[in-house]
């Protein structure tokens, strides 16, 4: 019973967020030229879509969508998210100034920290393997505008 209340509260919160997104859309539309039905301004379509979003979200706040059977609550993947994010950010920061190989090594090593079944040795070996593969496929094979290593 308590779980059901918790779930419905969470569902309502999620729909409330989308209600807000709809409101932002309507507001953003209103800051642009709205025009008329016969000649659409750039703001009209966002406003229509935003209003529809608010309506549907309101319906979901009122009648929350409850799962049919109680599912086992899986733990939130905080750890995986954190390290994958760090890895992707590192890739984005490194790929242009330093090249594909350092970016790949950073991405794979950081992302592997998020996986409890991985180990430093596996991560390093995998990162080197993928870096070599990346150079073979993307740089030599497809001639993509990437540099191997530079500083």
């Amino acid at each position: 019973m308590l779980d059901a209340i918790k779930t419905s509260l969470r569902e309502r919160m999620a729909s409330l967020v989308l209600l807000l997104v709809g409101a932002v859309l309507v507001y953003q539309g209103s800051t642009l030229t709205m025009g008329t039905l016969a000649s659409f301004g750039p703001g009209l379509f966002p406003a229509i879509v935003g209003a529809a979003m608010m309506l549907v979200a309101l319906a979901l706040v009122t009648f929350p969508d409850m799962p049919k059977q109680e599912e086992d609550e899986e733990p939130f993947a905080w750890r995986q998210m954190l390290f994958v994010s760090l890895g992707m950010i590192a890739f984005a920061l490194l790929v242009r100034p330093f090249g594909l190989v350092p970016a790949t090594v950073a991405l794979v090593c950081l992302a592997s920290c998020g996986d409890r079944s991985s180990s430093p040795l596996v991560a390093v070996a995998l990162s080197v393997g993928l870096a070599v593969l990346g150079v073979l496929i993307f740089i030599w094979g497809l001639n993509l505008p990437l540099s191997i290593v530079r500083w």
Binding site: V21, T36, A38, P42, D65, M81, V84, I89, A92
Partner: protein
């Protein structure tokens, strides 16, 4: 007769070394991806998209399409052998496929699904060959009102028929429409919804959105799970051949599944995941022994596998004839065509006839390849499945990052992908479907354009959508579906409270 000549030309060009090679690579990648749980056709095609930029348009389409229908064959392999749906479209095959494998009939089950997949695809390709040119001719007379109506129907159908809450599906379509508006407005040249971020002026990249929602989100999810027990039953050659009785039991379900998948698949908004479930439900309903379902009924694997392959092929019909993608994978294919400068739609057939027929030719070649290769390669896929996740997921991330970055040589897109990954993970947790969002994103700009154009012509008269017969018919279907969908939660809520009152 003319069609046969064109088809012969298409098959001829599909057998040229270049296209044959790309088709083979496509179906092999598709099977691999289909077998791997978590990575579906959408993620695979968006991963392959940057690579196909370097091919000629026909080759790119042949390869991407090969990946798409290849996943349907691979997906059933994982479902039957491991009870792991490799793709959402073969989830229903687990229900009876895995029990069959436990009874030692895995080989037979794979044989039947391969054959029924091929039959489903065959029927759909034949229908496609006839219907696409006819529909394209019809669509030549379409005005903006008809286009808007068909897109509206597609979006409403995609959200109403997605698994889970239809309201949530509808909400996600709207979010997709909103995401599609970001960037410079084509008509006024004004920046919309960019919130002052200049990198957003070009709009959100389809590759970043798809890879985030379907690739990175799945990595978050799968990395948290321990490696599943992936010991598959062995498949021996002599187990492959079905008994006469098993063979007979699979013929009619295969045909029914093929017809259902083809008819529904050619409508915009109907995905293979939906039609395979419907085919399964239909078989159980008309069976004289419904209690066998879930315990290894042949009908329960033959019909859905025929249906999902038929749907996959048939979903090319609205995309190629009208330029309106019916499901998210087609949305990405459409994006790929536009990147190559091809505008799908009624003029596509007239202007790019040889390309259309080469594509059809490659469907025949690709499905034949899958028919031949599916069973011999089962052993290989089982080995692939034993690759531990600590190797698999960092590798997926690597391909995501390189693919996203090189699409537009833009570092910002990597951050966007990450952001959509987080959003996709949250959506999965709150059971918001991701597929309608992608469809809304692709259709959004086209819808706005056609809506605007229709209303300019009618001087703002909203009834313009009901003046012409086709537009009116489609519009009425769309609105009826919308009303039914919106009323559904009220009805369940009403039903839910009555017994409580009675008890009190």
């Amino acid at each position: 007769m003319e069609t046969l000549g064109l088809l012969a030309g298409g098959i001829g060009s599909a057998l040229s070394p270049d296209l044959f090679g790309l088709c083979l690579v496509g179906v092999l990648v598709g099977m691999l991806v289909g077998v791997l749980p978590g990575i579906g056709a959408i993620a695979a095609i968006s991963l392959a998209l940057p690579i196909t930029f370097h091919l000629d348009p026909t080759g790119a389409l042949v390869m991407l399409a090969g990946i798409f229908y290849g996943t349907q064959y691979g997906g059933s392999t994982a479902s039957i052998l491991l009870n792991l749906p490799g793709t959402a479209t073969s989830a229903v095959t687990c229900l009876d496929g895995y029990p069959l494998a436990k009874q030692g009939r895995a080989g037979m089950a794979l044989f039947i699904t391969t054959i029924s997949s091929f039959i489903g695809a065959t029927l759909a390709i034949v229908v496609m060959m006839v219907l696409t040119p006819a529909l394209a001719r019809l669509a030549m007379s379409f005005s903006a009102a008809e286009y808007f109506a068909v897109m509206l129907l597609g979006l409403i159908a995609a959200s109403a028929l997605s698994t889970g809450s239809a309201l949530k599906g509808f909400l996600m379509v709207l979010v997709g429409l909103a995401l599609g508006m970001i960037g410079l407005d084509v008509n006024s040249g004004q920046a919309r919804l960019t919130f002052g971020v200049f990198q957003l002026l070009d709009g959100i990249s389809l590759v970043a959105l798809a890879m985030g929602l379907f690739g990175v989100a799945e990595v978050f999810n799968s990395m948290a799970h321990p490696d599943a027990d992936r010991r598959a039953s062995r498949v021996r050659l002599r187990d492959l051949i079905p008994t006469r009785q098993e063979f007979r039991a699979s013929v009619n379900p295969t045909l029914r599944g093929s017809v259902l998948g083809t008819v529904l698949g050619s409508l915009p908004g109907m995905g293979a995941a939906v039609t395979s479930f419907m085919a399964y439900a239909l078989e159980r309903k008309i069976s004289s022994t419904p209690e066998r379902f879930g315990k290894g009924a042949i009908e329960g694997i033959a019909a859905p596998e025929a249906a999902n392959n038929a749907t996959v092929q048939a979903s090319f019909i609205p995309t190629l004839s009208l330029g309106i993608p019916g499901d998210p994978v087609m949305a990405i294919m459409l994006g790929a065509m536009m990147i190559h400068g091809i505008v799908p739609g009624p003029r596509f057939m007239a202007e790019n006839g040889p390309m259309f027929w080469s594509l059809i030719g490659s469907f025949w070649v690709g499905n034949l390849l899958l028919l031949i290769l599916n069973i011999p390669l089962v052993g290989l896929w089982v080995k692939v499945l034993s690759v531990p996740r600590k190797v698999l997921y960092p590798a997926v991330l690597f391909f995501v990052c390189v693919g996203v970055y090189t699409t537009r040589s833009n570092v910002f897109d990597i951050y966007l992908t990450l952001g959509f990954g987080v959003i996709g993970y949250l959506m999965n947790r709150f059971r918001f479907p991701t597929a309608p969002l992608l469809l809304g994103f692709v259709l959004g700009p086209m819808m706005e354009e056609n809506l605007t154009r229709a209303l300019v012509i009618s001087r703002g008269d909203l009834m313009v959508f009901f003046y012409r017969p086709i537009s009116a018919m489609v519009m009425i279907c769309a609105l009826a579906l919308l009303i039914v969908t919106l009323l559904a939660p009220v009805r369940t809520w009403w039903k839910g409270r009555r017994p409580v009152e009675g008890a009190a």
